[in-house]
Symmetry: C2
Subunit: 499 residues, 2 copies
């Protein structure tokens, strides 16, 4: 290897040549320096000052994006990475807890660097001879995690839950059309992620039937009534899209009951477990997903509970034959004679063509943690949410939503918002909640989420949301966050300044 | 920074914390060591032995993917990265020239490492405050590259040409439906990438009308006839999907003429410039895409000519209002009151939800190369293809396809295949060509592409294809490749062994 320190400047068109990663080694180090400097300058979980201030600081480091003449390559890179880090809502920070926005593991990010440098594309064997094998092993493991009892389960890697749900509905549509059906129909809970309805729109399917979700979970009786009405109308195929880990509350639909209702009406079940799927790594928590094995397909993401950099989506199917509608021949990628001669045909594994090998980072992570490590980290997040919920209960100025915690999500609300709602109306209470979130964002102190969810009295109120995904954050790390919210609720900023 | 050398082992659940990138720095170094070791063990542009041997070697390093107990993290990572590198079809190698499979630049791969570590997700401001600004600047530049003369062009980042074409057809469908049309119809050249027809299928659109492409380019007269027949039948909206840089030949459709024919028939024009789009960076080559500015939308990829790790797709649109059908409200990501309070709404920029900030690597690359550097690198690839074409012409054992080079693609065929076709039939000649490609793949010597394309006499024959995308490879680097093909054509492997 001729890649010991060399004094020459790096040319901007130096490739990430794996055989001589001199340039990449130097530039990766520049990027990591920029991350550290940017994070130090930021100080908190997100940059202070709000959108306009962040935009101005970011532009000062990056613009012009396309100068007529290039800059020195280290300078060009440092500016972008530094700006991104200084202006990040950083999921590695304990008080960045708004979304299913995960702190990636170092092992995953490092494996992703190998993916970037090698750049295999997963659409043909002659672009990804080994990466295709890794993907094959990874998808086998991820399929068996859901469908241990089936003879031939399978899984494909997607860009996330949205693509997984899209492919699930596409496969359903094609099964229905192949069977001569006219109007295949999707049944979805009011609690479902927007991507299910968006997938139906994209695919030209009829608007899904929305099923009631009292208490945030799909109601089996309501589903039964909806399916019965559908069967009476036209009797064409139905797919029930249930959720295991709702975005707002982290709740799991009653899968065994829904599977039974679906079966009784001749409908298929799909489960969007984008959030909850990785509970299956934990022996203790897997029972919460009991019934998931009845689904024809299951969405889950490893860029949520799974600590991968985006993207690391999965769609598992109960049998590999269910993927057949994705198969496709393109002479330049999988000509029949090449396939007959033994070159593996990869094209039918995705709706994308060029495709990044997201399986590499997943493989490195699963090997490093093992099933026990993955399960333990999931249990950690769930445990922190339970502790956090108790801390909310113990705080006189805060009120927990009765349905929390769900998986690792906790909803809570300042008592001051309830008091305001009682005197000045519900809207005033909700505005206090929304304003606190925006103030803490603008000040760079915390990234809290929000959810509008029915309260014990049935009224839909606005709640603060924390989604606990950090594999090492403890509940004690979050005490300051509770204190911050409580203080702010007692001393809200004047109206109009909270953004 | 507390990240000087520490003796403790890295925990498998160490995050890629940008504030203290100690673990990531160590593991990135492990990954780069694995790349170098793997590339050295491979020796050539791809691993020798064919699919089964590669699979066995890969599995030996990676399986089990999910052990019950995790491995030491360095070992877990090294095994995966080493296997991927040893078994890569390596686009940094001069003889890896089959596909639009680019050697990524070191600056892009390093910026991508920052993206992995920070893990901003592009679906809400509070997950990507600065990355959203970088993306905004990048898309503005990429839109203006195509639509310099328009008042409000725009662009979105996609997972590649396939998603760009899908979104282009989706926007067309929604415009048509909003106007009350019944059956919007896509017109596509026989030379188009399969993703255009696949997008129509996915979206539930009628099967596209396929237009003749004599000489590999869409025929304006044939398009005119097809559009006239369509208008006579039902008169609903039409979208012509032309290609600037075909996959097989690198040819550019006659855009000015197609634009004029489309205009005359009231049809819209979309251009799939996944391959050719970056010609726009070069003052000298941009005129080859003249007419592209008449398109309502343009697909292009920076993971082809643009040297980005996958994914770096772009869909440019002539006016930002054209993106309106993508807009979407999800209370947890872009509630109305948050948007009114000034939090930028990012959700309508993609059909995905969680989304990796591919704009970061693009920004670092464009800044490092500048417009002149980008254009110069494109010109280099085009120039090497021209030289390579001359070298084929000068070689007595090889025959160039008369339409080559197109952009940076050259088709050629051993004279021995023509001779065999004359004596033993066309199929025998084609089998010789396909066999040479598979032999060189199996031996790990070269990654050549293939294309079935009409010859001068109108017969569709099989050709070897090289797609020259390396910003530093020279034609001299390819002399050995020509020699290898010519030798192999004279001494083909016995039938049945070439895989």
């Amino acid at each position: 290897m001729s890649e010991t320190a060399r004094p020459d400047p790096i040319r901007p068109d130096a490739t990430a040549d794996p055989a001589a990663p001199h340039a990449l080694r130097r530039l990766a180090s520049v990027a990591l320096d920029a991350l550290a400097d940017g994070a130090a300058a930021r100080g908190g979980p997100l940059p202070a000052g709000g959108p306009e201030a962040v935009a101005a600081r970011t532009r000062a480091r990056c613009v012009p994006i396309l100068p007529e003449e290039g800059l020195p390559v280290e300078e060009a890179l440092y500016g972008v990475a530094r700006a991104a880090a200084e202006g990040a809502a950083d999921p590695s920070a304990p008080h960045c807890v708004a979304h299913l926005h995960t702190p990636p593991l170092a092992v995953a990010a490092a494996a992703d660097l190998a993916a970037s440098a090698l750049n295999p594309s997963m659409d043909s064997w002659d672009q990804a001879p080994a990466a295709a094998v890794v993907e094959d092993e990874v998808t086998a493991v991820l399929a068996r995690l859901v469908y241990a009892g089936r003879p031939a389960p399978d899984a494909v890697i997607t860009s996330g839950g949205t693509e997984s749900n899209l492919v699930a509905l596409l496969l359903f549509r094609e099964r229905a059309l192949a069977a001569g059906a006219r109007a295949p129909r999707v049944f979805v809970g009011a609690n479902a992620h927007h991507s299910v309805r968006r997938a139906a729109w994209l695919l030209g399917l009829p608007e899904p039937v929305v099923v009631d979700c009292p208490g945030g979970r799909m109601d089996p009786a309501a589903l039964g009534r909806a399916l019965a009405a559908h069967a009476g109308r036209d009797g064409s195929p139905a797919l029930v899209a249930a959720t295991a880990g709702t975005t707002d509350e982290g709740l799991v639909d009653p899968l065994p009951e829904l599977a039974e209702v679906a079966r009784a009406h001749g409908a298929e079940l799909h489960v969007d477990a984008a959030y909850g799927g990785p509970l299956l790594f934990s022996e203790r928590l897997a029972p919460r997903l009991a019934g998931i094995e009845h689904a024809v397909s299951v969405t889950y993401d490893l860029h949520k509970l799974g600590w991968q950099p985006v993207a690391a989506g999965v769609l598992a199917v109960a049998d590999t034959a269910l993927l057949e509608p994705l198969s496709l021949t393109a002479d330049y990628l999988n000509a029949d004679d090449d396939t007959e001669a033994g070159l593996p045909d990869l094209l039918g594994r995705s709706i994308r063509t060029s495709r990044r090998p997201d399986a590499l980072k997943i493989a490195a992570t699963l090997r490093a943690l093992g099933r026990r490590g993955m399960g333990g980290a999931v249990e950690h997040c769930v445990g922190v949410a339970e502790e956090f919920a108790r801390a909310v209960d113990a705080h006189p100025a805060l009120r927990r939503h009765a349905g929390s915690p769900g998986i690792s999500t906790v909803l809570f609300r300042p008592v001051a918002a309830d008091a305001l709602a009682a005197t000045a109306g519900e809207e005033a209470g909700d505005e206090l909640v929304a304003g606190i979130r925006r103030e803490l964002l603008a000040e760079g102190r915390a990234v809290l989420g929000r959810a509008r969810v029915a309260d014990g009295d049935g009224r839909r109120r606005l709640w603060l949301k924390v989604t606990l995904l950090h594999p090492r954050t403890t509940a004690a790390d979050l005490d300051a966050l509770l204190k911050l919210v409580a203080e702010r609720a007692e001393n809200p900023a004047p109206a109009g300044t909270g953004h």
